[in-house]
């Protein structure tokens, strides 16, 4: 029931926003923010009552959808999906709040779509039926298409087409895989999937998630989409939507295809390693703020996949922690990029600089997020990356070397970004009159930063409360407890 409420609440909010006429961005955004806060409160209530001792499904609900193929509306929460739902709710609050603060034209449609996206993402994290999972997975595309296509930057048309064709190409192959898998099992229930030894089905899933994440070399849509979208949409896209791919790997691929995972592990790890280094290098060379964040996002998703395919306690724990970390980090960075772009009308690093002077709040938040993003020891990102490297080391020390090298690269691109925006000479596009962060911006980004700092103090808050404490066993037994 509560799970259904978590899914339905944003959708209901979206409907209300679409139907009622809205005169100001503040009114529509305010309602959307209230709904998002309600979602967050609902999630907090769920966490308080959640039983973290078991790795099985909780708060589940089921209703038959159509019986002849065994498809049902089945939703529920695992302990690890709970954290991803929380991430979604938190980033949604920040993004919607930011959109409201920034003001958007046609606010009813805009905030409704943001809520729709939120609901669909929560649906992906909670669906326990393959077809339902797919429905939510595809439903995320509609709001993203319209949000980027209508409210995006100058190159939005190309960006949206590329984004949609890439991701739907991947996910439609997954549809065939789902059909083949479900018909083979006689049911689409994800809690009773069992395993399959079909390489084709495995690849259908993996490619879909590789495009969505994205992994190298499926990232062609990423830089355009992240650059052209409004800042808060990029925040949701890279912070939350990309995590659905990692979630899919964790929830469907790892448990259901043990043989293929073992056979293809090297291939996936090679691709992920290339992506990690390649993304980091591109982030270091990117000419604009969004480009740096976008390519660092590619690198981080690859790191998460390395953790997942390490397929041991440490790797899985680290991957999950890093999913939450990266969600918070990239959402904060995109929102900060939005604030910078608002003040300077550009994201070009050559035209920026010197923004720290006289703008202490912006500088402080930017640097704090940056320092966490480069995984400075003591930060939660360090904990996550350490766990991932610790997990991958027994698989092969070479992978760990690549991962460690990437951490150095991360330091390079983050520091380059920080210095290009905040330090050096004052950029030509930075007007003296550009204000420091306003209270609204501060509180929204601050909220994400506080979450990051809290996790830095206590990363075990997540790692001790996932997979019932035994990640590898939980995945191997397909979370059936």
């Amino acid at each position: 029931m509560i799970t259904t409420a978590l899914i339905v609440l944003p959708f209901a909010g979206a409907l209300v926003l679409w139907i009622l006429p809205w005169r100001t961005s503040t009114a529509a955004g305010g309602l959307a923010l209230l709904v998002a806060l309600g979602e967050l409160a609902l999630w907090v209530g769920t966490v308080v009552n959640f039983d973290f001792g078991i790795s099985g499904l909780q708060y589940d609900a089921e209703r038959t959808w159509f019986s002849d193929l065994g498809v049902s509306y089945k939703v529920g929460l695992y302990d690890f999906s709970l954290w991803l739902v929380g991430l979604t709710a938190l980033v949604a609050v920040a993004s919607i709040g930011y959109g409201m603060w920034a003001g958007r034209v046609r606010p009813g449609a805009y905030f409704g779509l943001l809520l729709f996206l939120t609901g669909a993402t929560v649906g992906v994290f909670t669906a326990q039926d393959l077809l339902l999972f797919y429905v939510f997975f595809e439903a995320m595309l509609i709001p993203l298409y319209v949000l980027i296509g209508v409210w995006g930057g100058a190159g939005r048309t190309g960006a949206t087409i590329k984004f949609i064709v890439y991701t739907m190409g991947g996910s439609l192959l997954m549809l065939v895989a789902i059909i083949a898998f479900g018909l083979d099992r006689g049911s689409f229930d994800m809690t009773e999937l069992g395993t399959s030894d079909s390489t084709w089905i495995f690849l259908g899933f993996v490619i879909a998630f590789a495009v969505k994440a994205p992994l190298w070399p499926f990232h062609g849509w990423l830089p355009d989409a992240y650059r052209e979208a409004p800042a808060e949409v990029s925040a949701l896209l890279s912070g939350v939507v990309s995590k659905t791919a990692a979630y899919g790997l964790l929830r469907i691929v790892l448990p259901s295809f043990p043989e293929q995972v073992a056979d293809w592990r090297t291939v996936v790890l090679v691709l992920a390693s290339i992506g990690l280094v390649y993304g980091s290098l591109l982030a270091f060379r990117a000419p604009d703020v969004r480009g740096v964040i976008a390519y660092s996002s590619l690198a981080q998703m690859c790191l998460i996949v390395i953790g997942l395919f390490a397929f041991n306690d440490s790797g899985l724990n680290g991957a999950l922690l890093q999913m939450v970390n990266h969600g918070l980090i990239s959402a904060s960075l995109f929102l900060l990029a939005g604030t910078v772009e608002r003040r300077t009308a550009t994201g070009d690093l050559h035209l920026l600089g010197g923004m720290a002077r006289g703008r202490p709040v912006l500088a402080t938040l930017f640097i704090v997020v940056g320092v966490v993003a480069l995984a400075v020891p003591g930060s939660t990102a360090f904990a996550g990356e350490f766990l991932v490297l610790n997990g991958i080391f027994p698989v092969g020390w070479g992978w760990a070397v690549v991962g460690a090298a990437a951490m150095v690269l991360a330091a390079m691109y983050v520091l380059r970004l920080v210095s290009a925006v905040l330090h050096r000479d004052v950029g030509t596009m930075v007007p003296d009159a550009a204000l420091d962060l306003r209270p609204g911006e501060t509180s929204l980004v601050g909220m994400l930063v506080i979450a990051l700092l809290a996790l830095s103090f206590w990363p075990a808050g997540i790692t001790n409360h996932v997979f019932g404490g035994q990640p590898q066993q939980a995945v191997t037994t397909r979370f059936s407890e």
């Binding site: 959808w65 019986s67 002849d68 509609i142 298409y145 209508v150 048309t157 949206t160 949609i164 018909l183």
Partner: protein, 492 residues
């Protein structure tokens, strides 16, 4: 010398057709005695009542019938497949009335339009229950001739006349091929009843049978505009008055495909090696041709016409596999598909009336914001045609692909998937034109808001409700589809 024995006639089973014919008679004759001002309202009202009556009659028959049986000396078949198709056809006709109501044009002869509409639906209702090659051809010509005239009904518009003529010539060509095919099948088996053909087929002349079946399939492929027999589709869809296009794009597909399913399973069920693979090939060609050609269209009606060709491909997949799951998939797919087709052409019609010229993609720019309801409806139809939730077509495609995979033809599902990916570009092109493209709204020269059109808006709303409703209520609807195909003898 044999004496003619009058067959028993099951009037109840014919009631949907009879109600429609009765309505057609009323709309043809009564308006002549009415003042011009009320003719349209009267005809539309009678037509709607007749369609509702036919739909209700078919629904009642559906509820009562269990297994099917032959009626009128086995010339027709009374079964749930026909009755379910009749309900869908009546629904499509009803939606078409809403779209047609305010179509500008001559008002004196308006009764004729509704007569033809009812006659076309009646012919289709007859056609889907055809159980012999003779009734098949009779029904086909019955609704086709009605459609030819409907296409040409805007006699003051050259495009409409051209469309009517083109459809007449190409359609007659298709009919002739079908008729010749029937003759060959008769020659091979000595029978025209579907079941009788099935019994006699094994011993018949192989060459005649194969050729005859091939020609039958070609004739039907003409009607459902499957490539490479679709050449008439874009021209006719573009030239015909938009409400007519709306109706025939939806209804002809329903009738043609349901009858194809019936013919192939009933008369050629044991000859499945002759048609399963060849239909799959036609499906692939339609998918490829329709989608690729749609990519470069700028006229919205032409774009939707090619989309219709590509959907003929999607819809042939479940027939080609020849399984019960395929049958269910076809019937379920047709429900949202028919509604979405009428709905999307209805919006084109509304835009056309507003601008008083054919609608191109650039004519849609800004429409999404200026006409919010039509914009959202069109966007949902377009997302739905792609196969995105929450449109029932998503589940339709899911079912069609499932049928292919279940049969072991995953390659066919993958062809469908690739075609879908290609189709994203042009369907989203419509959405992009409505919401994204810069540029001012291009109003009609007179400017201002278009006149209110509650009938059309109701039709769009109803289409939208069916489109989304079929998604959420998939369970019961698929049960209906299952009942519909339960007693067909699928080869697999």
């Amino acid at each position: 010398m044999e004496t003619f024995v009058k067959p028993d006639i099951d009037w109840a089973a014919l009631s949907p057709v009879l109600v429609l014919l009765g309505g057609a008679a009323l709309t043809m004759l009564v308006p002549l005695f009415l003042p011009v001002g009320v003719r349209r309202g009267f005809s539309a009202f009678v037509a709607a009542a007749a369609l509702i009556g036919a739909g209700v009659a078919a629904a009642i028959l559906f509820a009562h019938d269990d297994s099917g049986r032959g009626i009128v000396a086995d010339a027709l078949r009374r079964d749930r497949l026909a009755e379910l198709a009749q309900v869908i056809l009546a629904g499509a006709g009803l939606l078409a009335i809403g779209v047609s109501y305010r179509e500008p044009g001559r008002r004196e002869g308006i009764g004729d339009y509704y007569t033809l509409l009812l006659s076309a639906v009646g012919g289709m209702c007859f056609f889907v229950s055809a159980n012999s090659l003779m009734t098949l051809f009779l029904g086909l010509e019955w609704f086709s001739i009605s459609l030819y005239i409907m296409c040409a009904i805007a006699v003051d518009r050259l495009g409409s006349l051209e469309a009517g003529l083109k459809y007449l010539i190409v359609g007659s060509f298709g009919s002739a091929i079908l008729l010749f095919g029937s003759a060959l099948v008769y020659g091979a088996t000595g029978e025209i009843g579907f079941e009788a053909i099935e019994r006699a087929a094994a011993g018949g002349d192989r060459f005649l049978l194969v050729t005859g079946l091939a020609m039958l399939l070609v004739g039907l492929a003409f009607k459902v505009s499957a490539a490479p027999f679709h050449m008439w589709t874009p021209d006719v869809y573009q030239g015909a008055p938009t409400p007519v296009t709306a109706f025939m794009s939806a209804a002809t597909k329903v009738a043609g495909l349901v009858l194809t399913l019936r013919l192939l399973t009933t008369a050629f069920g044991s000859q499945e090696e002759l048609w399963t693979l060849s239909l799959a090939v036609i499906a692939c060609i339609s998918l490829a041709w329709g989608n690729l050609a749609a990519l470069v269209q700028t006229d919205v009606k032409r774009l939707l016409a090619y989309s219709s060709v590509s959907h003929a491909g999607f819809l042939l997949i479940p027939i080609a596999v020849g399984t019960p799951l395929g049958g269910r998939a076809l019937l379920y797919y047709l429900m949202p598909y028919a509604a979405m087709n009428v709905g999307s052409f209805a919006i084109v019609a509304a835009r056309e009336r507003e601008l008083a010229r054919p609608v191109t993609l650039s004519d849609l720019s800004g429409m999404g914001w200026e006409r919010p309801f039509h914009g959202i409806a069109m966007a949902i139809f377009m997302f739905g045609f792609i196969g995105l939730p929450p449109a029932g077509l998503f589940l339709g495609k899911f079912y069609a692909f499932s049928a292919a995979v279940e049969r072991g033809w995953a390659w066919l599902a993958i062809v469908g998937v690739v075609a879908t990916v290609v189709s994203i570009y042009y369907y989203l092109g419509v959405v992009r034109a409505m919401y994204v493209s810069p540029g001012e709204l291009r109003l009609a020269p007179a400017g201002g808001s278009p006149p209110r059109d509650p009938a059309l808006t109701t039709a769009v709303a109803a289409s939208l409700a069916v489109t989304v409703g079929t998604f959420f209520a998939a369970g019961p609807l698929i049960d209906l589809a299952r009942d519909g195909v339960e007693f067909l003898r699928f080869p697999f």
